[in-house]
C-alpha cells in the first residue's frame, strides 16, 4: 500500500500534469513506469517528487516500448501500475498496449497529445484520438476518456483505474499538451469522500491459495495456435466489451435540447465550444454542444438523438476529423447535414466556432 496524500478537499492551482500525478496517488496507484516525452514529462516529475511521502515506486525505462511492457509486468506482479506518454511515444507503445488488450490487463495510460505526424510539435493536438482508440493490431477493446480541463483530469484519472480494474480492458486518459501544461484551479479530494470505492488491486500471478482448490489457475495467453481458437476468445471479449459499453459510456450536453446547430467536439475543444455557444445564444442563434466523454465506446443512443433533433451539425477538432470519422459511422442512416472546422495540431478558439456557426446559421435560415 502507498500513502495517500490527499485526505480532505484541497483546492490547488496546478498544471494538468501535476493533477494527474496526484490523481494516480489518490487512486492508490503503486508504481509508474515511463519514458520522458514532452508534454507529459511533469507527470513523471511530480510522481517522483512525491515519492518520499507516498512511498510508491517509479522506473524510468529505456524507451516507451519498455515502459509499456514494464507496466504490464508490474500489473502481473500484483501492483497497481500505470504509465503516461505522448506523440511518437504513444506510437511505439502500441505493441504493449495490444498485449494488454489481448491479455485483459488493467493497463492505465495518460496520453498528452502533441502535434503529429511523427515528431511534429511538442505543444498540442487532438491527433492521437484514432491511435489511442484503435492503435495496435487489434480491435480497439479499450476505454478512452477525453478530458476537458483539470477537474476532469483528476476525476477521470481516478475513474480510469476503477474502470480498468473492474472490466480488465486498457483504459486511457486522453488529454493534450494544453491540459498538461496549463495552470488552473482544481479541487483534489479523497475518492471515498465522493462515495467512490476503489476496485481492489489483485495479483494476476502467484496469487494466494492452492490452484484447483482455492482458485483457478491464471492462464494468460498472448499466443494462439488455431484461428478459430483466437476468434472464440475475441468473441468473448467483444461480448464483454459491448455489455460494458452501456455502463461506462459518458457524454455531456450543453444547451443541446433545443439546438438547431449542434457542435460535436471532444476534450479541450469542447470547452471552447461552450464559450462559443454562450456567445451565439446571446446573438439569438440556437447552438448547442454534444461532447462525448468516452470517445471509445461512444454513447451512440444519446448521440443519435441529439443529432436527430438538430438541423445541422458542426464537427470541430484539432485534427482532421478523427473523432468525426468515428461518430459518422455511428450516425449511419441519419441525413442531418454537417460542416467541419478542423485545425490540425492547432487550438480551436471560441471565435473560430462562433464565426463558423454564424455562417452555418445563414444557410439554415435560408432553408
Amino acid at each position: 500500500m502507498v500513502n495517500k496524500l490527499i485526505k480532505e478537499d484541497t483546492k490547488m492551482f496546478l498544471t494538468g500534469n501535476e493533477v494527474l500525478a496526484y490523481a494516480a496517488n489518490s487512486a492508490e496507484a503503486e508504481f509508474m513506469y515511463g519514458y520522458p516525452i514532452t508534454p507529459q514529462n511533469e507527470i513523471m516529475h511530480t510522481w517522483c517528487k512525491l515519492l518520499p511521502k507516498t512511498e510508491a515506486g517509479f522506473l524510468q525505462t529505456e524507451d516507451e516500448i519498455s515502459a509499456g511492457f514494464s507496466t504490464i509486468g508490474g500489473i502481473l506482479a500484483g501492483k497497481r501500475a500505470f504509465t503516461a506518454t505522448a506523440g511518437p511515444g504513444n506510437v511505439i507503445m502500441q505493441d504493449a498496449q495490444s498485449m494488454a488488450e489481448m491479455m485483459r490487463i488493467p493497463f492505465v495510460c495518460a496520453v498528452m497529445q502533441r502535434g503529429g505526424p511523427s515528431t511534429a510539435t511538442v505543444i498540442y493536438a487532438q491527433q492521437e484520438t484514432r491511435l489511442t482508440c484503435f492503435g495496435g493490431n487489434g480491435e480497439g477493446f479499450r476505454i478512452v476518456y477525453s478530458t476537458a480541463g483539470h477537474q476532469d483530469l483528476y476525476d477521470y484519472m481516478i475513474k480510469a483505474f476503477n474502470t480498468a480494474w473492474k472490466y480488465r480492458f486498457p483504459t486511457y486518459i486522453l488529454a493534450d499538451g494544453y491540459q498538461g501544461k496549463m495552470r488552473e484551479p482544481v479541487t483534489l479530494y479523497d475518492p471515498a469522500s465522493r462515495g467512490i470505492t476503489m476496485v481492489p488491486t489483485e495479483r494476476f500471478l502467484l496469487a494466494d491459495g492452492e490452484i484447483g482448490v482455492d482458485r483457478k489457475s491464471a492462464h494468460l495467453r498472448n499466443t494462439y495456435n488455431m484461428e478459430d481458437e483466437l476468434m472464440e476468445v475475441l468473441e468473448g471479449y467483444k461480448a464483454d466489451y459491448e455489455k460494458m459499453s452501456e455502463e461506462v459510456q459518458e457524454w455531456e450536453e450543453y444547451k443541446a435540447e433545443d439546438a438547431e446547430i449542434l457542435v460535436i467536439a471532444h476534450g479541450i475543444v469542447a470547452r471552447s465550444a461552450r464559450t462559443a455557444i454562450d456567445e451565439l445564444r446571446e446573438k439569438g442563434i440556437k447552438a448547442g454542444l454534444f461532447r462525448p466523454i468516452t470517445i471509445r465506446p461512444l454513447a451512440v443512443k444519446p448521440l443519435r438523438e441529439a443529432v436527430q433533433r438538430a438541423k445541422r451539425i458542426l464537427f470541430t477538432e484539432s485534427a482532421n476529423g478523427q473523432l468525426a470519422q468515428m461518430v459518422l459511422e455511428k450516425l449511419y442512416g441519419l441525413t442531418t447535414p454537417y460542416d467541419t472546422l478542423f485545425k490540425m495540431g492547432v487550438g480551436v478558439t471560441g471565435d473560430d466556432i462562433v464565426n463558423k456557426v454564424e455562417s452555418m446559421a445563414l444557410a439554415v435560415n435560408r432553408g
Binding site: P39, I123, K181, R183, E184, V348, G350
Partner: protein
C-alpha cells in the same frame, strides 16, 4: 470586464513565463478564475516565448483565445508573431528600447514603454520583466498591487530573504512599470 485576455510575448530568456506565472498566481490568490498556457517550443532559450493568460470572475471556457485585451510585445519577432492576437479592442504595449519598429496594428490604444532602457540605466537588467509586470498590472487593472506583491513573495521570497535589498529593487521596478502606463496618458 468579466474576462481579461492577455498575450505576453518576448524572446526566450526575457522572463515572459516568470511574469505570467506571478500574474496568474496573484489572480488565483485573489479568488479570481485564472487560466495560463505557456507556449513552449523545443528550444531552451531563444525563439519567441508567448504566455496566454486569462483572469475572469466566472468559469473560463476556451483555454486559447483569438484576440487579447492586452497584447504585450517585447521584441521585433514578438511583434511579427502576435499581430494576429490584436483587434480594435486590444491595448498593445511594446518596448521601444528593444523593438526597432512600432507594431502596425489596428487597435484601441498603443503604448510604447522603454522598460529595457530604464532597467539597465536606473535599476538592473534583471528586473526588466518585473517592470513589465508593473505595466501589465496597470494596463489590466483587475488585480491589486498587494495581490502581485504577495505572489512575488511566493515566487521570490527565498531570494528576498537572502538579500533583502532585492525586495526593494523589485518593488521599485513594479512601480516604475505602473507609472509607465499612467504617464502614457492612455485610459485603461
Amino acid at each position: 470586464m468579466a474576462r481579461t485576455k492577455i498575450v505576453l510575448a518576448g524572446e526566450g530568456g526575457q522572463g515572459v513565463q516568470s511574469v505570467a506565472k506571478i500574474l496568474v498566481e496573484a489572480g488565483y490568490e485573489a479568488g479570481k478564475q485564472v487560466l495560463y498556457i505557456p507556449n513552449f517550443g523545443v528550444e531552451q532559450r531563444g525563439g519567441v516565448s508567448i504566455a496566454f493568460c486569462q483572469i475572469a470572475d466566472e468559469t473560463i471556457g476556451e483555454p486559447r483565445f483569438s484576440k487579447g485585451n492586452i497584447v504585450i510585445m517585447l521584441s521585433d519577432r514578438a511583434i511579427d508573431r502576435c499581430a494576429t492576437y490584436v483587434d480594435e479592442n486590444s491595448i498593445v504595449v511594446y518596448d521601444t528600447s528593444v523593438c526597432t519598429k512600432k507594431p502596425e496594428v489596428k487597435c484601441k490604444e498603443i503604448i510604447g514603454v522603454d522598460a529595457n532602457k530604464i532597467a539597465n540605466e536606473k535599476l538592473s537588467a534583471r528586473v526588466f520583466n518585473i517592470i513589465i509586470l508593473g505595466v501589465l498590472l496597470a494596463a489590466t487593472n483587475v488585480l491589486k498591487l498587494d495581490d502581485i506583491k504577495n505572489a512575488m513573495e511566493k515566487a521570490l521570497g527565498k531570494k528576498f530573504d537572502a538579500k533583502p535589498e532585492l525586495r526593494d529593487l523589485n518593488y521599485q521596478a513594479l512601480e516604475m512599470g505602473m507609472e509607465m502606463v499612467s504617464n502614457s496618458g492612455v485610459a485603461v
